[in-house]
Amino acid sequence: MTASTTAPGAGIAIPAPGRPARPRRKKAHTGHGAWPLLFVGPLAFGIAVFYLWPIVRTAYFSFTEWGVFGGSTWVGLENYQRLLADPELGRAALNTLIYTGVVVLGVPIGLVLAALLNRPGLRGATLYRTLFFLPYVAMPVAVAQVWKIIYNGDYGVLNWALGLIGIEGTYWVSTPGWSLIATAVLGLWLSLGFNIIILSAALRNVPRDLYEAAALDGASPMRQFRSITIPMVGRSVFFLTVVTVIAGLQLFDLLYTLVGTANPVMRDTKSLVYLFWEASFPDNEKGYGAAIAIAILVITACVTAVQFLLQRKWVHDV
């Protein structure tokens, strides 16, 4: 561990974003000449061509309409007017938020599991850790294939298991409402390992003597969890929540694979990114697609801003 700059309670061990220490003697630093260009140039070129310029292009495209033969014409705010009047946008935004809301539950679940995994002297901790880590490195598209079979209404093992305890299952991925929940459960399953890794790292930074002192004072493990663990890993929990929400707003792969484009239920299950993809590629309405991309940008920015505001309030309370 060369980069041991973790602040207590931080899950992010990226060294603190401070500036590099400035040398006292300026002289030592004036001789870089053309070197910086050589070091930064290739990356800066790629970022400019494939990321910065495209942002400008998309903003421009969102004011245009694309003809069948590739030409585009300026249509002003038409795409945005159409977007705001499109009932699919509201539906997709709601679906995306519901999905995200379910997947975020993986943060508290991950915290409980990480706390249990980190109990001193727990036997089999390594094996548990490996198993929890598996889904995180699995290809989402590939595991979605087996989840589709597990969820199947006719021969899925889930309905069989529910039948054993007297519950009648349904066609999970092709029933409106359930299809989104089924996708979200898969999303939660996939991301849990990541949460556990980050939270375990944070938990290891909580000083042991805090627990010992609390135990001597007669605090139960539950009480210790509530009064020591949760406040000490607050920063990591917040970080994970932000990252999970941003990833949740990107819902596409799982929907595409688990529910599938041909499934009639997709009409009610589309996410924002799915809407973007559908407009831009299968429908080839790239102007409209660009407007949806801008909408995704705005929604993501708003949701993230709200989270930061809430965090400020929450941190005050602690």
Binding site: A13, I14, L43, I47, T58, F133, M139, A201
Partner: protein, 276 residues
Amino acid sequence: MSERAAINRGRTWPTHVVLSVGAATMLFPFAWQIILSLSTQSEATSATPTFPAAPTLDNYALVFERLPFVSQFWVSVLITVLRTAAQLVLCSMAGYAFARMRFRGRDALLAVTLSVLMVPSQVYLIPQYEIVESMQWLNTVQGVVAPGLFSAFGTFLMRQFFASLPIELEEAARLDGCNPFQVFWRVMLPLTRPGLVALAIITVLWSWNDLLWPLVVTTDGTKMPLAVGLATLQGERSTQIPLVMAASLMAMAPILILFITLQRRVIEGIAHTGIK
């Protein structure tokens, strides 16, 4: 200490119950996928789950016969290797310059690069597609790979690592007559190994598993990576459950095996970055 250990020992069974249920939930889909891949179609679609009466590896052989698995596998390998190599080189060089070199417009350039991190990928996807299309790179490895050779995230990550190293090392090397490239290559880069490992892990995972971008730029079955191949299976082949299970298992096996073998490293690397 011994008192607490005693308390803990007395109460480990509820912990084991919770963790076992959790671990079983994590493991079950993989186990089920393996069982299905060894079954026949009628066993896989029976209303009561059945273990294969005569487990067969035929489905794995069929994958090679019925699907362009081998070509897709090589596309996946190529894009993963190319992206990872390019990002390691480009991001560490740029990250070093941003952390340790002084040049005009450095802070502005860094801020602009970082702004890319805040933008959802859909915002640059259509113009990236336009570029790839105009280069006639649709359905090619270079088309799938191109945008992912450059990473704002990786640059930021490496910059943070370089910025945390003591400046004295660098000054000593410079006094010994190293030029800036030698300082970077011989002295500084080896010290950022945890950063390089973390960046490599993230890039490998993302390159192997990503769907949206390769889905858009590849339509030819033999030119697409595995993720796209699996996601776009259609018709009769997609309803052959044992076949699809065998193909999906083989598609994720290389990364699963690699990362389980290097588990310690990978977990440390991910914890280091904190960001997927």
